[in-house]
C-alpha cells in the first residue's frame, strides 16, 4: 500500500495571470494595485474577474462588504491534491496559501501588508506559522511608483505557477521577498522597475539569502506584443549569483492565444574553496487560450541546463494547466507536468494535481 503523503508545505502562493496582459490591458496595473502585478485587484481587475468567470457574481471583497473607500482588502485560500511520480506514483496533498491582504491609501501613499500562514518550523515555536510575506509603503504619482519594505524584486515574467522553470530555477523564485527600495515607471508603452535590496535577516524567511539589485524593463511593440530585458545580482559571503535574460509576449488576436517566453542565463561564482564558477541556462514558453465558460488553457514547455560542464543534466518539461474560473471568487484547476532529464535517459517524473483557489 502506497503511503498517502501529506506535505505540510504551506503557502505556495501564486502571483497573477499575465496571460491576460496585452489581450485585455497593456500593463499589470490595469488589474492590480501593485506596480508589477499580483495580489490585490483594482476596480478594473474585479470587473475582469467577474466577466471571466463562468457564473456571474460580485467579485469584490466578501461580496461587497462595506468598507472605507481608502481601504482595499483581499485574501487567498489555496490547496492542491493529486499524484506525483518521482520514484513511484504517490498520492500527494498539501495546503498552498492562506493569506489576507490590505492596502490603505491616501494622498498618493499606500500602506500594504500581506499576512497569513506558512510552513511550521520543525521543533520551532507554534507562532512560527504566522508571518507577513509582504509589507511596504508605496508612493505613487501618475506612472511613478516608489516602494520601501518587504516585497519581491520585479524581475522577469512573474508567471502564476511558481513551478515554471524560470520561477523554479531563475531569478524570481517562490518566497524570494526581501527588504528593499524600488522605483517603477509604468506606462502603456513601456515600463521599468529597479530594486535595491538586502536579504531578510530578521526572520530568515526568504529563499533569497543575498544582497543585491534587480531591474526589469519591458517595451510594448504595437498593441499586442512586448519585449523585456532583465538583470539581477545577488551576493553573499559564500556566492555571487548574476542573472540576465530577455522576455517576450505576443497576443495572437486572430486565434486569441497569448504567448509568453523567457530566456535566462545565470552565472554563479562561489567564493569558498577553489572558487567554482557555474553557468546555467533556463527557458520557458507558455501558450494560453481562453476557451469560454471561465476556462483558460495553458500549455508550457521548459528547459534548464543545470551546469554547462555536464551534458547529462539537461532538464525539460511539458506542462498543461486548465484553469476554471467558476465564480469571480472560486477557481479550480488541473495542473500536469511531464519532466525528463537528459531527454529521459537520466530520469523522469511528473505530477497531476487538482487545485482549488478561493479569493476572498
Amino acid at each position: 500500500m502506497k503511503a498517502f503523503v501529506v506535505l505540510l508545505l504551506a503557502c505556495r502562493i501564486a502571483h497573477a495571470y499575465p496571460q491576460y496582459q496585452l489581450a485585455r490591458d497593456a500593463t499589470c496595473t490595469g488589474c492590480h494595485l501593485a506596480p508589477d502585478g499580483g495580489g490585490l485587484l483594482n476596480e478594473n481587475g474585479l470587473v475582469v474577474a467577474e466577466s471571466t468567470a463562468w457564473k456571474d457574481g460580485d467579485g469584490s471583497f466578501m461580496f461587497g462588504m462595506r468598507k472605507p473607500a481608502w481601504l482595499s482588502l483581499g485574501g487567498d485560500l489555496r490547496g492542491a491534491t493529486g499524484a506525483a511520480f518521482i520514484g513511484e506514483v504517490e498520492p500527494v496533498a498539501f495546503p498552498m496559501q492562506a493569506e489576507v491582504a490590505a492596502n490603505a491609501s491616501s494622498h498618493g501613499f499606500t500602506l500594504h501588508a500581506v499576512g497569513g500562514l506558512r510552513s511550521p518550523q520543525d521543533q520551532g515555536s507554534p507562532l512560527h506559522v504566522l508571518w507577513s510575506r509582504e509589507h511596504y509603503v508605496m508612493w505613487q504619482s501618475g506612472s511613478v511608483y516608489l516602494r520601501a519594505g518587504r516585497f519581491e524584486p520585479t524581475y522577469g515574467l512573474r508567471l502564476a505557477e511558481h513551478v515554471d522553470y524560470t520561477q523554479r530555477y531563475g531569478g524570481r523564485p517562490l518566497f524570494g521577498e526581501v527588504y528593499g527600495v524600488a522605483a517603477s515607471y509604468v506606462a502603456p508603452s513601456f515600463e521599468i522597475h529597479a530594486t535595491g535590496y538586502v536579504h531578510d535577516s530578521l526572520t530568515g524567511a526568504s529563499v533569497e539569502h543575498g544582497d543585491g539589485a534587480a531591474a526589469y524593463g519591458e517595451v510594448r511593440v504595437g498593441d499586442h506584443a512586448a519585449i523585456g530585458v532583465e538583470g539581477k545580482i545577488s551576493t553573499t559571503s559564500e556566492i555571487t549569483k548574476s542573472y540576465g535574460g530577455i522576455t517576450a509576449k505576443l497576443y495572437l488576436q486572430r486565434v486569441d492565444v497569448m504567448l509568453q517566453g523567457e530566456i535566462e542565463v545565470i552565472r554563479d561564482h562561489v567564493h569558498l574553496d577553489a572558487g567554482d564558477r557555474v553557468t546555467q541556462f533556463i527557458g520557458y514558453v507558455l501558450a494560453s487560450k481562453e476557451l469560454g465558460a471561465g476556462l483558460l488553457l495553458d500549455v508550457g514547455a521548459g528547459h534548464f541546463t543545470e551546469d554547462t560542464r555536464a551534458m547529462g543534466l539537461d532538464r525539460d518539461c511539458l506542462d498543461a494547466n486548465l484553469h476554471w474560473f467558476v465564480t469571480p471568487h472560486l477557481e479550480g484547476s488541473v495542473t500536469t507536468r511531464l519532466e525528463l532529464i537528459d531527454r529521459g535517459s537520466g530520469g523522469r517524473g511528473g505530477y497531476a494535481l487538482l487545485q482549488a483557489h478561493y479569493r476572498l
Binding site: E88, P120, D122, L174, A274, D342
Partner: protein, 113 residues
Amino acid sequence: MERFAGLLALGACISPTDERPITFDVIQLEILAPSCGVVQCHSSTTRFQGYVFDSFDESRRSLRNLIVPDSNGVFGLVQVMTRSSTRMPIDAPLPHDDLVLIESWLEMDTPGL
C-alpha cells in the same frame, strides 16, 4: 531497487560528459540548495526534519548524519535519493549524473566538506 543497485555498481564512474569537479561546492550549489533547500522544505526557516540545505554552513551541519555508511555500506544521502517510495527530492526527479556525482563524492571521503 534496481536503480539503487545500479547506482552502487557505478561506484565512482563519472560520466565522460560530466566535467564538473567532485567537490562540496558543486554538490551544494547544484543539487542540495536548489533541490532540497527550497524554502518550504529543508530551509533555514522550515528546517523540515531538522535538515537545512539552503546555505553552505547549514548543509555541512546537516550532512553529518547522511555521509556515514550504514551496516550495508549505504550512505544515507544516497538512500533517500534512490529509494522507490517517497524519494527525495519529492517535487522533481534528480538527474542520474547528479546521483553519480554524489556517490563519487562520498566514496572520495567528501572533499571540501
